[in-house]
């Protein structure tokens, strides 16, 4: 993975010193809260219900064992011994003291980490495929580009006070595992007819109050022009994005109101007028960046497949785990392992300090020290020998990390909701817990399924993209839950449609049950839920959900 050079080290050290002084000035009364808020947000520090919350950046979800151990140490020393992995591949700590934050950032800097721009109206963490570099279906490793964007977008002088936040995702594989279409700016790496590698650029995707999918604004952008083109796209947004209404300030509203073609034309004109050479990425630089992500020196001896087969035959539980939690690796004899942070009945995405340390140890022993965070709020060990899977599974199982439910109905994406978050209008974690507990027995029968839950309209839980999405809202002081159907992430991304009146908190599980029953009854030939939904429409679901008893 990418290692900081002297520039990067020096930069984060300077950032820590700057922030330490900002906190000092705040505590000394030189800065008002209104003045300090954007400064702390640019370091990922929110004020939530119970305390400050620090959102630590995990650039494109890439961790190593040293970083993960430091995160464990920080959660133990400065927080309550656990953290919450988010849908932006970041980590949130919910019990932070302002006065501790400069020291926390210094600890992060010591392992090449920071919390820069995990909030605020600027570039956020650039995300990508958690299987980047090892996925069998990828054209090229997307991480060098994500890293180039990360660096260039860090404390950008022109774009640190945009109308609203700005999220970029990159995908380079046949299957989009980065939900590219729901990003302000999406990049699909592909090959054009001349055989050159470049980007298809999408703009205007996003969830929140007005969920929209990104639309293509450029079919082929040469790699060298990546930064100049993003700069042009941002300059047009900075100039014309709305600033009078918070809910209309994302780029998706600009793209929608201008029309994608007009926005694309504006960007193109700006881009052609700009000094593209000044920020062009020379091939040597791309190659240098790519060399930071070379694959590890795998043990190429054949995996003992007979032993793997015996273990699978000997344990139905292990067989399930292999089926759901391991994925094809491009190197023979290896697997990509997803560690589920969705144990049934617990908080989706939460991880204790001890669990982080165990994963760090396992990464060192079995995955060349590498760990990834998936936006589905799970962890990934990207390079595990297949004949080590059984031992790995046993150790995960013993630590409460052995859930075999990746891509199943209990693998719920869920924001922290009103148990922690100052923006939430309803709780989301208890809903996830009840649904998972209720559905666990049938998850195999249901098969691939995604439930996504947000505790407010900002949609951190991606509810619009869930096969079933659940949005918690406040109705006259009571938590009620709006249900959407038919959403999907990835290549066939779709925004779910609201099925009808919201249901009460204690009715959610029963409602999901009824919807699932309709699906199981009417699906054909192994259809996924979105396919069934598109084929049969809303009516049968509506009937089942709202029929008088």
């Amino acid at each position: 993975m990418y290692r900081y050079d002297d520039f990067d080290h020096r930069f984060v050290d300077e950032r820590v010193a700057q922030y330490r002084d900002q906190v000092r000035r705040r505590l000394a009364g030189q800065l008002t809260e209104d003045e300090f808020r954007p400064l702390r947000l640019m370091n990922g520090l929110y004020l939530q219900l119970h305390a400050y919350m620090l959102r630590i950046a995990i650039p494109y979800g890439a961790l190593d064992s040293a970083k993960l151990r430091t995160l464990a140490h920080i959660t133990r020393k400065y927080d309550r011994g656990y953290g919450h992995f988010t849908t932006r591949q970041n980590l949130q700590l919910h019990w932070i003291k302002l006065e501790d934050t400069p020291d926390i950032l210094a600890e992060l800097a010591s392992v090449e980490m920071h919390a820069i721009q995990t909030s605020g109206n600027s570039f956020r963490n650039t995300t990508t495929d958690p299987f980047a570099g090892v996925a069998a279906d990828e054209l090229e490793d997307p991480r060098p580009y994500a890293e180039i964007i990360r660096q260039w977008s860090t404390l950008h002088p022109e774009f640190s006070f945009l109308p609203r936040k700005f999220k970029i995702a990159v995908s380079a594989s046949t299957e989009d595992r980065a939900a590219v279409k729901m990003h302000d700016l999406g990049l699909y790496l592909h090959r054009n007819e001349q055989g050159e590698v470049g980007f298809e650029v999408l703009a205007g995707g996003g969830l929140g109050r007005t969920p929209l999918l990104g639309q293509t604004i450029k079919k082929f952008l040469p790699r060298r022009d990546l930064l100049s083109y993003i700069e042009a796209a941002l300059r047009v947004y900075n100039q014309y994005g709305r600033r009078d209404n918070l809910y209309k300030s994302r780029i998706k509203i600009l793209v929608q109101s201008l029309g994608a073609q007009k926005y694309a034309d504006e960007v193109e004109a700006e881009w052609l007028a700009s000094d593209r050479a000044a920020v062009a990425l020379p091939d040597t630089y791309l190659a240098e960046m790519a060399s930071a992500f070379v694959l590890p020196a795998y043990d190429r001896r054949p995996s003992d497949e007979a032993a793997v087969a015996r273990a699978i035959a000997g344990s139905a539980a292990f067989a399930r785990w292999v089926k759901h939690n391991t994925f094809a690796h491009k190197v023979p004899g290896h697997a990509v392992v997803t560690i589920s942070l969705k144990p049934v009945g617990l908080t989706p995405g939460d991880c204790s300090a001890e669990q982080m340390e165990l994963v760090a140890d396992l990464a060192d022993e079995l995955s060349f020290g590498e760990v990834r965070v998936a936006y589905e709020q799970n962890l990934v060990l990207p390079h595990v020998r297949r004949d080590a899977l059984y031992a790995l599974w046993q150790r995960l199982e013993a630590a409460g990390l052995g859930s075999s439910n990746i891509g199943l109905i209990t693998d719920i994406i869920c924001c922290p909701g009103m148990d922690y978050c100052g923006l939430a209008t309803a709780r989301s974690i208890p809903i996830a817990q009840r649904i998972a507990t209720h559905m666990a027995a049938k998850e195999d029968a249901i098969g691939n399924f995604s439930i996504k839950i947000s505790g407010c309209i900002n949609a951190c839980g991606h509810h619009h993209l869930g096969h079933i999405g659940i949005l918690g809202v406040d109705k006259n002081g009571e938590e009620v839950y709006q249900i959407t159907l038919g959403g999907d992430a990835g290549n066939d991304a779709a925004v779910g449609a609201i099925i009808g009146p919201a249901v009460k908190s204690d009715e959610v599980t029963g409602a999901i049950d009824k919807l699932i029953d309709v699906y199981l009854r009417l699906r054909q030939n192994g259809e996924r839920f979105p396919e069934t939904y598109r084929r049969i429409g809303q009516a049968p679901f509506k009937e089942a959900l709202y029929a008088p008893r």
């Binding site: 930069f11 003045e35 109206n121 260039w152 977008s153 002088p157």
Partner: protein, 166 residues
Amino acid sequence: MLLAEDGSLGEDHWRHLNDEEAIPASGPVTVSLAQWQKAEPALRERRDPLGLRLPNTIAPQEIAADLAHFALLVLSFPKFTDGRAYSQARLLRTRFAYAGELRAAGEVLRDQLLFMRRCGFNSFVVGERAVKESWATAFGEFDVFYQEAPDGRPWVMRQRLGPRTP
């Protein structure tokens, strides 16, 4: 009070005319865009320095042809969270090669100063706090930058690549 890019503090010797005021025959003055458009011929006749106050909603290309007449451009930050003038400044400095004084006015806070200077501002309208809180130190908080910018300071990609080959 004015803060200069070298960190020195001084008084503003410009007069900022409102649209109803008569244009004085001498002395440095700034006018609004409307006033410039209305009284351009008269303003061009003056010998003393002329400045323009540009709202952050105007694209720099709209005044590109007139830039030679101005010794000062005042760009506006109605709120410090409204960052349109950063783009204006950058375009004025690079695409339109404006070389005069570029001044940030409005809600200018200490922790924006470095961003502003990188985008090409070289003077800043500040209050008493700037003295008490020694705002000039804000310019030196970083010497590592990841972006090419009008202030011409070295940026990381270029530094890594070494001197550019022709």
